[in-house]
């Protein structure tokens, strides 16, 4: 028994180490991004090391420039608004739809899931111009509403599909038990099934949120007014035609990852808290 434990421990340690190395490799871009951002402006341009080489090269001036002089905070705020609204809207539309496709039988629902898949397949580049036309007719171009609608719809397909998968793994007995107790089907959904799919909801929210946070192409075509520019557009303020203000760009990018990371940490809790083991009987 004892040797088996130590064996287990050794395996664990080995796994940890491999993991750590892997993660370092995979986080190289972020590390280099951060390393450049904390150098002074000149050092960032002229040195090629990952981190500042001398103490004198270490500085937070890029962050100051980005947030204070260039008012990057405004862009972050716009992106935050868009991301949160899109995530909420997406869940609001996708959760019931995913449930419907999972639970109900009929040609309509079968066709629906196929249609969702089909819609994913059309490249965004070709959707740009027709979508822009639609929003022009609705007079909502150059407003955050246009990209909110575009992003929500863009994330709908995969959200519904993913949630359908989660719903499929929850046995129908649960709702039926609730309905026997007098709930309507919808109430059963809301009170019994929906909470159990929290990991699925959390998954969908994380990806929808991050997709909306980092999206560039649609935003660049739809938004032109300075006041509503999102974070990805704000990053472009540091980019010229044939070159860029790399130190400031990296600093801005670092700042931009912070809300995303915070959200990821926040949602971790819900990602993994699965169903209580006792809920499944038989």
């Amino acid at each position: 028994m004892k040797s088996k434990n130590t064996q287990k421990n050794i395996i664990n340690i080995v796994i940890y180490v491999i993991f750590a190395i892997l993660l370092f490799l995979l986080l190289l871009p972020l590390i280099s991004m951060f390393g450049t951002a904390i150098k002074t402006h000149d050092a960032a341009l002229m040195t090629t090391s990952l981190f500042p080489e001398k103490w004198a090269d270490l500085s937070l001036e890029n962050f100051g420039y980005v947030m204070i002089k260039m008012k990057f905070g405004k862009n972050l705020l716009n992106s935050a608004i868009v991301s949160i609204v899109v995530t909420l809207a997406c869940i609001f539309c996708a959760a019931p739809a995913g449930y419907a496709i999972s639970r109900f039988k009929g040609p309509y629902f079968k066709f629906y899931s196929v249609l969702l898949l089909l819609l994913q397949m059309f490249p965004i580049m070709l959707m740009l111009m027709p979508q822009y036309l639609i929003f022009t007719k609705l007079h909502i171009t150059n407003s955050l509403l246009s990209i909110i609608i575009s992003y929500t719809t863009g994330n709908l397909a995969f959200s519904i599909w993913l949630l359908k998968g989660f719903y499929d793994s929850i046995p129908m007995e649960l709702e039926q038990a609730a309905m026997v107790d007098g709930c309507t089907k919808f109430r059963a959904f809301l009170t019994v099934v929906f909470p159990l799919t929290l990991p699925g909801i959390a998954t969908v929210s994380v990806f929808t949120m991050l997709n909306a946070w980092n999206e560039y192409t649609v935003a660049s075509v739809f938004l032109k007014k300075d006041a509503i520019m999102t974070m990805t557009l704000g990053l472009q303020k540091f980019v010229q035609q044939n070159g860029a203000d790399w130190p400031s760009l990296m600093a801005a990018a670092c700042i931009a990852t912070v809300p995303a990371i915070v959200f990821v940490i926040f949602s971790q809790k819900y990602l993994i808290e699965g169903m209580t083991a006792g809920a499944v009987k038989g």
């Binding site: 980019v239 070159g243 860029a244």
Partner: protein
């Protein structure tokens, strides 16, 4: 006596009629006079005796002088214009442009309000195209140099000849301030669709200190001497790249390398009949030159994958001796600035005077605008007052107006004068050997068709195949365009 008073009253009446602006208002006192001033041509036919009086009476400043019979008479009142400015410099450039726009909004007498929107470079092509095809294009803009001509072919560009006529009528010095050859650059089918204001210089810059250390005391004047200089640099500095250039990434920078080669050897990539001309001896020499540089290790092996970021990093950290085919402006205000100079253009074997490439940029308008004359007025004012967004703002464009170079910002850095002398005054344009920009160039630049030969030679293909492939690619663009027009 009475007759004279009458004629004076009539003349004054005509003047007031002209000042009514758009003559939709038929309730002017002198309907005939108002009618006459609607057409720009009959300006000469109106009583010229009244013209100077009118001009002097109304003109507060010389530039605002209403030259009779030009579009300036028909400016729509209280117009609102949308103005798209590209991110020509990073960071606070926007503030300078906004300041200029604010100044215009305050100053102009026609009640025109201009709204500024800054457009990022990444994805700008889609932004413009989507806006134009959906009917929501801006009124005026600066953009890629290919835009005015390209949209002219679609029928979407605003005709700017009236502005030139107005300048002629008032004898504006701007017409001489910009060299003759540039005025026709944005002409399409005989009509001007863009006003040339700036140049993005494509040149060769070098490290004076490295050259000195390597014992190169005489700057190369032809291809062989250039290769010799590279050899010396390579020997002296085995860890540095002798010649740094961009041939990769998605930015159009590799096109610029090809353009510089064109200029150095007077070799065009296409001719006036819109056929590809890569299979000439001059181009052969160019790409043999490139191949030699590659084989001898005078350029980095990784050049085929370099984008703007790589090149900037290597150049600014002192990892290279010569920067080929790019504007030298990235070194301004950095530690290496004093050691960098523009290499006077050397000459290829097939010509007597090598030249650099001055990529011309223009300001233009869209014909979708609701206020064509107000737009033209703003464009005219813009060309006359744009020094504040060019000088000292980090704008990648150098002015085409020679008079601007007396500004202190241009005296601070030697690079400006060197570029003016070596590149702008004597350079070819990117459309060489054509006199003006043409729509297919946008495709060739965007898909980096111009750089096909360069990229292939760098990756190791032999010169003949590379030239043939490049020729085919360019020819296909022209053929596709012909087919589309059928």
């Amino acid at each position: 006596m009475k007759k004279r008073t009458l004629s004076i009253i009539l003349s004054l009446g005509m003047v007031m009629g002209m000042l009514q602006g758009c003559g939709n208002d038929a309730a002017t006192e002198n309907a005939p006079a108002a009618e006459q001033t609607q057409e720009t041509e009959p300006a000469e036919e109106t009583d010229t005796a009244t013209e100077p009086e009118a001009g002097q009476e109304d003109a507060g400043q010389g530039e605002e002088a209403v030259a009779g019979g030009t579009f300036l008479d028909e400016i729509e009142p209280d117009a609102t214009l949308t103005y798209w400015e590209m991110q020509w410099a990073s960071g606070e450039y926007q503030n300078h442009v906004q300041a200029m726009v604010d100044q215009f909004n305050e100053e102009n007498e026609y009640g025109i309000t201009v709204n500024l929107e800054m457009i990022p470079w990444d994805g700008y092509y889609e932004t413009f195209l989507t806006a134009v095809t959906s009917g929501t294009a801006p009124d005026v803009y600066t953009g890629a140099s290919t835009a005015p001509t390209q949209y002219a072919q679609m029928g979407e560009s605003l005709d700017l000849d009236p502005i030139i006529d107005a300048w002629k009528a008032e004898n504006n010095p701007i017409l001489d301030d910009i060299a003759e050859q540039y005025w026709g650059f944005f002409k399409y089918e005989g009509v001007t669709y863009g006003l040339p204001y700036g140049v993005d210089p494509k040149q060769i810059t070098y490290r004076k200190d490295f050259f000195e250390e390597a014992g190169i005391d005489k700057l190369p004047t032809n291809y062989d001497e250039f290769l010799e200089a590279c050899a010396k640099l390579k020997e002296k500095f085995p860890d540095k790249i002798p010649c740094l250039l961009t041939a990769g990434g998605n930015e159009p920078s590799s096109n610029h390398m090809a353009e510089v080669l064109n200029g150095l050897n007077a070799a065009g990539m296409f001719d006036a009949n819109k056929n590809a001309t890569m299979l000439t001896d001059a181009q052969r020499e160019n790409y043999e030159f490139v191949k030699t540089m590659m084989d001898e290790g005078y350029m980095s092996e990784g050049s085929g994958g370099y984008g703007d970021a790589d090149v900037e990093k290597i150049w600014l950290s002192g990892g290279a001796c010569i920067l080929f085919g790019r504007s030298g402006n990235i070194m301004i205000n950095t530690d290496i600035e004093e050691n960098v100079a523009v290499l006077p253009p050397f000459t290829g074997p097939s010509t007597s005077e090598g030249k650099y490439c001055a990529n011309v940029n223009g300001v233009a308008g869209f014909s979708q605008t609701e206020y064509p004359n107000a737009s033209r007025y703003f464009l005219k004012w813009w060309m006359e007052n744009n020094i504040q967004i060019l000088a000292g703002t980090g704008n990648g464009n150098l002015p085409l107006r020679e008079s601007y170079y007396t500004h202190e910002a241009y005296k601070e850095h030697a690079w400006y004068q060197e570029t003016l002398d070596n590149c702008i005054k004597t350079g070819i344009t990117q459309a060489y050997p054509m006199d003006s920009m043409f729509p297919e160039f946008a495709t060739m630049e965007g898909e980096k068709v111009l750089a096909v030969a360069l990229a292939e030679v760098i990756e190791g293909t032999d010169v003949e195949t590379a030239l043939q492939d490049c020729n085919d690619a360019i020819q296909t663009v022209f053929d596709d365009a012909r087919e589309a027009a059928e």
